[in-house]
């Protein structure tokens, strides 16, 4: 479904489309601390854009600059081509859903949703209908007269969403919107968020540290680190073609093998990485040169594990099972190679546990094709 959507909706690949938000060399400093470092970024209309990164990477600062609570130290932010640096938060066509939800405890659910509408130029008599419409959107009509402390955490989250959408903003900012929900509810809500976003066509920018959440909901993900954007891409490309060690390591699980390019053929490189072990064969990235230091990154689910050496695999290395992580639907085998490097291999548990093929201390072969991994130079 995601792949289909990406084919239809990809304004970032169209050179004619104008971004709704444009960051131009934006820097934000707090005293000596640089929160955002010379950042340039485009976000397009109707996108569901995720800012992903560890805490302190600057993603929240970026969002607060969009909301108007912070102003850039240097650079320019434009919304619909208009510089918004001097526009205060209450005059921006931007609304924010707070991580804490920030529901007004002294107002009922309906009054919370109506709060923004009452400050807008919407005629008084139209407000109740709009509130009802928004509460219908998040399925909370029954709770209109409750106070925030009388409803559950999941319901509060929906009120916060309805309130921030009520004024039909051009841009909705979501700060860790699902962080306080338990796992099951979070997953359900992710799909609901996507439905609502598709229905309304509003541009959503979500800040999260949860990579699964970002991958699930977003049309594009920006991975941030130390105030810079490491990579902006669709979830599929971020996962399959990470641009750097940092992104590969941050998104999902990965084996990182440090080495150097031994030889470059047309489509393939050989990487020497450990004495006494065969060179790795991998697909050659553009512009790679012999002798260059590199990192071979391969996802655990692309590594096979077998008792006998496979005949046709481009890469096969012997090792011993050190640990087995049982995840239910799959198991992760930690295989220690003769040089001490540990390779993680993930295998779907198609058989019941009692009939598992390998156990601790077993000698096994890990293998993968030449195109399964990625050679990274950053």
């Amino acid at each position: 479904m995601d792949a289909q959507k990406a084919e239809v909706f990809a304004p970032w690949e169209d050179s004619d489309s104008k971004p709704i938000i444009h960051f131009q060399n934006v820097t934000k400093r707090f005293g000596d601390f640089t929160a955002i470092d010379d950042l340039t970024l485009d976000i397009y209309e109707k996108e569901f854009f995720a800012l992903l990164g560890p805490s302190g990477c600057g993603k929240t600062t970026l969002m607060r600059m969009l909301a108007g609570f912070e102003t850039p130290t240097e650079g320019q932010i434009t919304l619909d081509g208009r510089d918004i640096a001097m526009v205060p938060p209450n005059k921006r066509p931007v609304n924010m859903m707070f991580q804490s939800y920030a529901l007004f405890p002294h107002l009922s659910v309906a009054d919370n949703v109506a709060f923004g509408l009452k400050r807008s130029d919407m005629p008084r008599e139209e407000i109740p209908a709009r509130v009802d419409e928004m509460l219908g959107l998040v399925q909370l009509r029954k709770f209109a007269n409750r106070k925030p402390h009388q409803i559950s955490g999941g319901q509060r989250q929906r009120v916060a969403l309805a309130r921030s959408l009520a004024k039909a903003p051009k841009l909705l900012l979501l700060d860790e919107p699902l962080g306080a929900l338990d796992r099951k509810l979070r997953e359900e809500t992710q799909f609901e968020l996507m439905d609502i976003q598709e229905k309304l066509g509003t541009t959503f920018v979500i800040v999260t540290h949860d990579q699964e959440e970002a991958m699930t909901v977003a049309s594009r993900v920006a991975v941030m680190d130390n105030g810079k954007i490491e990579q902006v891409d669709t979830p599929e490309r971020i996962y399959e073609f990470p641009g750097s060690r940092y992104v590969a390591d941050f998104i999902g699980d990965v084996n990182l093998i440090e080495g150097a390019i031994r030889s470059v053929k047309k489509t393939e490189v050989e990487i020497s990485w450990a004495e006494g072990l065969p060179n790795l064969r991998a697909a050659a990235p553009d512009g790679i040169e012999k002798g260059q230091n590199c990192c071979f990154a391969i996802r655990p689910e692309k590594v096979s594990i077998s008792a006998e050496k496979p005949e046709d695999a481009a890469n096969a290395i012997e090792g011993k099972v050190l640990d087995i992580g049982y995840l239910g639907n799959m198991s992760t085998y930690h295989v220690e190679l003769s040089n001490g490097q540990i390779i993680k291999a993930q295998v779907a548990n198609q058989r019941r546990l009692a009939r598992r093929a390998f156990t601790w201390e077993d000698r096994v072969w890990v293998s993968f094709t030449a195109t399964a991994g990625l050679v990274l130079t950053r």
Binding site: A67, G68, F69, P88, P89, N90, V94, N95, M96, F98, Q99, S100, A102, F104, P105, H106, F115, G116, R119, S120, H149, R163, S164, K167
Partner: protein, 315 residues
Amino acid sequence: MGVVHGHCRSGIDPLIMGNLRRIFLISVPYGWLLLLFLIPFAIVLKISLSDAALAIPPYAPRLEAGSGLKGVWDLLTRFDLENFVFLTQDSLYWKAYLSSVWIALVSVVFTLLVGYPIAYGMARASDEWRPTLMMLVILPFWTSFLIRVYAWIGILGTNGYLNQVLLWSGLISEPLVILNTNLAVYIGIVYTYLPFMVLPIYATLEKLDHDLLEAAEDLGCSRLQAFWLITVPLSRPGVIAGCFLVFIPVVGEFVIPSLLGGSKTLMIGKVLWDEFFSNRDWPLASAVAVILLLILIIPIVLFQRQQQRQQEAEQ
């Protein structure tokens, strides 16, 4: 396992032990109330039902030691409501009660007007400044209340510091008469009771989630609107608590009106003092005190209920 062990050693059922402990814990505050509130009040009530007499202490009848049950019965039959009837006959008393309540109400308004901005400023101050500001609010408690009120005589008097500064600066050509007027009483009360207003308001403002104000701004409020629509309603419990904490003691206040107020300043605390020490009419003074307490029970009960409601809302 620990329970079984304890059971064997002490030989007392742990349930009974638990009950005993509960009874003990409850008995401490109740004992406190009984000893320091109910018994003194009963004594005051008893005196208020007696008659003034030339004796030490100056009232009759008194319970003679060793007179037994008959003595108690004798005592009870000689009680009457004469003092309370007298309070309704002389207009001085109900005027003093009314005037006290009025002065307390006006003081509450002034204290709120001065205290709210102080509490707001404290709550908005940076973290490293807050303990210092808190200290400055509490600091006056470290010196005697009496001395601090005396100090105001030196400030407000005709030749006081305030008049000297104003005369020197040329703002006035003749000294202002402030001391021994109601204005001086209000100044003294606002000054003395300010911490009782500031601290509860500060407590609610300090808890106020800053996200709420940002959310209000995000939804289209100006800073001022956000203050009226969010900060003010959410600090209401602190404001109510502060108003009660000022109102209740100010109604019975007597040091400030007697030191700073003039002959026209009528407050029930001063009347009570005069009855007790100048007229040595203990029974009448006790009756004044009993009525004062009955008047104050209404706001005290309201205050308690408000506190309880707020605690429930927070849970």
